[in-house]
């Protein structure tokens, strides 16, 4: 850790040439999404006659991760939404050159003293605020959908897609992940894919920014039930906003082991909040398609995590746990949506 602290201090000196006596300490790895190594640290420096201190976050690429993502897009999404109605932490510097810290990374400001854990959200004092958290969770998701990607400056950063092609691009991609990474056959998800291709959804009402992993566990909340930051934009892209809503309703995020989505509220209530905030409609046939898509995408991620652990250098237990713990639940979610659970 001392070597990484020193390298970080050297790098920040390049970015803050007016600052003196740069020092990095209290570096500690934390949980922070599955695709990057995340560390918190303290930066101390002198500015003119004053000593200053900042709590910062380092997000560094690992050798292999659960999700193959582009850090430039993640960084751009944080930048674009900072200061808007979608709360996100401030990001400071993006670095592609691996010579500084061994691999590409970016640095942002830590929002300290907050909680993200899906298991903690089920406990007091958070459990008393589930309705309040849910109102914000799906309202913020609606706000993401309502924002104009062009005005956010993200059209040139994220790959464009026509409203009628959103579904096909995503389904092709995740079917490709299954084709390349599955270690054992997936008859349920393959049946779901065939059904989805025979019954494509209506074109997107609009093309918006899709967070890509919007769920309980990827936002920061406090003991009063206020959401302060949406995290883990590593799979952000342009697409059908119903994709995010479908993902947020995925059965595998029913952390309370009951029907409440995200461990918080009923599916229908979440949809109503989202519709109100986004100004869009979640037509039953369309949201059904995107919920089923969420099971394909989920299985794609769990399959590729197992593949990465078995074939790659990354032996993080999260890669095994996500596969072992979620694949069968994901299959059951797909069967339920197809009316085949029995």
């Amino acid at each position: 850790m001392a070597a990484l602290e020193a390298s970080l201090a050297e790098y920040i000196q390049l970015k803050m040439p007016a600052a003196a006596e740069n020092r990095v300490d209290q570096l500690a790895q934390i949980s922070g999404g599955a695709s990057r190594q995340t560390y918190r640290f303290r930066l101390s420096y002198r500015e003119r006659d004053d000593m200053r201190e900042r709590r910062l976050i380092l997000r560094r690429d690992p050798s292999a991760s659960l999700i193959d993502t582009d850090r430039k897009i993640e960084f751009a999404a944080y930048k674009a939404f900072f200061g808007t109605s979608v709360p996100v932490p401030e990001v400071l510097w993006l670095e592609d050159d691996p010579r500084h810290l061994g691999s590409p990374f970016f640095i942002g400001v830590e929002m300290a003293g907050l909680e993200t854990s899906p298991s903690r959200i089920l406990m007091e004092p958070y459990a008393a605020h589930h309705q309040k958290i849910a109102e914000q969770k799906w309202s913020i998701l609606g706000a993401i959908a309502a924002h104009d990607p062009a005005k956010l400056g993200l059209v040139g950063v994220m790959e464009p897609v026509a409203p009628e092609n959103c579904w096909k691009r995503e389904l092709d991609y995740w079917e490709g992940v299954l084709d390349s990474d599955e270690l054992i056959p997936q008859p349920i998800i393959r049946a779901a894919i065939r059904w989805m291709r025979r019954n494509p959804p209506r074109p997107a009402q609009k093309v918006s920014v899709v967070h890509g992993d919007y769920r309980t566990g990827n936002f920061l909340f406090d003991e009063q039930g206020r959401i302060h930051g949406i995290l883990d934009w590593e799979m952000a892209h342009l697409g059908d906003p119903l994709e995010d809503l479908g993902w947020s309703l995925n059965r595998v995020w029913c952390w309370a082991h009951d029907d409440r989505r995200g461990g918080l509220i009923a599916r229908e209530d979440a949809i109503k909040i989202w519709e109100r905030a986004s100004g869009l409609k979640a037509a039953p046939d369309a949201i059904h398609w995107w919920e089923l898509f969420a099971t394909v995408k989920g299985q794609g991620i769990w399959v590729s995590s197992a593949h990465a652990w078995e074939t790659g250098a990354n032996k993080d237990p999260i890669l095994v746990l996500s596969s072992w713990a979620l694949m069968n639940s994901q299959d059951r979610a797909a069967l339920e949506l197809m009316g085949r659970l029995g």
Partner: protein
């Protein structure tokens, strides 16, 4: 092996959660040990049923393939399904049973896709049997700790 493997792993998992994790400082390492404890708990649940559920499923798939063969119009697929219906599990190592299961489930995907395109009553019966078996397959794999 005595003490029984599933009991040992379950006890070790609880030991990690109740005794070791509170003694660890940084949250990242707590999280890592928590995940390892959960993996041990999953193995403890899977250990005793691992061979049994694979043998049961392989036999059910072979029986279904025997019944399904007449509904298959594609000669190559019919031959593949016939051949697999005649196989049996002779090696009861988990890896061997898993390999047989993968061969059977890969053929199940092809059979399912085929009957979906057919309009005959026989095809509908096979399709219904496949859906029934797929639902059963998730019951066999279900974990006590699963969200769904």
């Amino acid at each position: 092996m005595r003490p029984r493997v599933e009991t040992v792993f379950q006890t070790m998992a609880m030991d990690l959660i109740e005794r070791v994790i509170p003694a660890i400082g940084p949250s990242y390492h707590q999280g890592t040990v928590g995940m390892i404890a959960t993996l041990l708990a999953i193995v403890s649940e899977e250990w005793d049923r691992a061979a049994s559920r694979r043998i049961e499923e392989n036999n059910r798939l072979r029986e279904m393939f025997k019944q399904a063969a007449p509904a298959i119009n594609d000669p190559a697929l019919r031959s593949r399904i016939f051949q697999l219906a005649k196989t049996a599990d002779h090696d009861f190592h988990i890896t061997a049973l898993e390999n047989n299961n993968s061969a059977l489930r890969a053929a199940l995907i092809a059979l399912h896709a085929h009957v979906e395109t057919q309009t005959s009553t026989e095809a509908r019966k096979v399709e219904a049997a496949i859906w029934h078996e797929l639902a059963k397959s998730t019951e066999r794999r279900r974990l006590m700790s699963a969200q769904f």
